[in-house]
Amino acid sequence: MPLTDSLRDDILATVPSLRAFAISLSGNADRADDLVQETLLRALAHIDSFQPGSNLPAWLFTILRNLFRSDYRKRRREVEDADGSYAKTLKSQPAQSAHLEFEEFRGALEKLPQDQREALILVGASGFSYEDAAAICGCAVGTIKSRVNRARSKLSALLYVDGAEDFGPDNTIRAVIGGGGG
């Protein structure tokens, strides 16, 4: 369909979640914004292929995800966000302990296989249905479900190794001090 005003507004309205998805995938704020930019350029260049009435966010997420994938294959993550450039994008710095926990969570997320990470983010953070997430990733719904489940178990193993009884700030800090190598 042609780029109408309302379609343009809808695309713009999706930009914040596209950025969040891109940052979660790439772990790097600058690269994420480049990905979003490329996504928008590509979407507008191929706007004719967008079916009116279909799920615009899912369409845009699909483009971004495919761009990230091909980019990933090329560059193999040579840039790691070691100095926390992601944290600098936050408007308000979280308090110190919350910040530690936050960084630890991000570190664990980065350790997940890419398939599992993207499935977890799409379903658990972006709020897509399993069906939409499957369409975005080009796989079966059952595959998405099992990826999400594996991602969750792996995260809980990484973050809460000692199990269920007593996790909390103390445990988190112990984990950071004890297991911070990488």
């Binding site: 343009r8 914040p16 977890l120 983010i121 199990g163």
Partner: protein
């Protein structure tokens, strides 16, 4: 479905897998991280980009050229 393992095999309280409390904590952290970015809104960079492309598009259509693929 596998019937070989009786469900009672797991010790109560500490199963190897998913504790609900941990799972809700993970879900919460995931959304907190994500929503931090969402709340930043649309950076000018992208609003400008769309506006720019929009006017290019209009100009192209007036000139009667078919839009080119992959221009940037």
């Amino acid at each position: 479905m596998k019937d070989s393992k009786p469900p009672s095999q797991k010790p109560p309280g500490k199963q190897g897998g998913l504790n609900t409390e941990i799972q809700s904590r993970i879900g919460h952290q995931l959304r907190a991280m994500y929503d931090d970015v969402v709340r930043q809104g649309v950076p000018d960079r992208f609003a400008d980009l769309i506006r720019q492309l929009d006017s290019q598009e209009a100009a192209t259509q007036i000139a009667g050229d078919p839009p080119k693929d992959g221009r940037d």
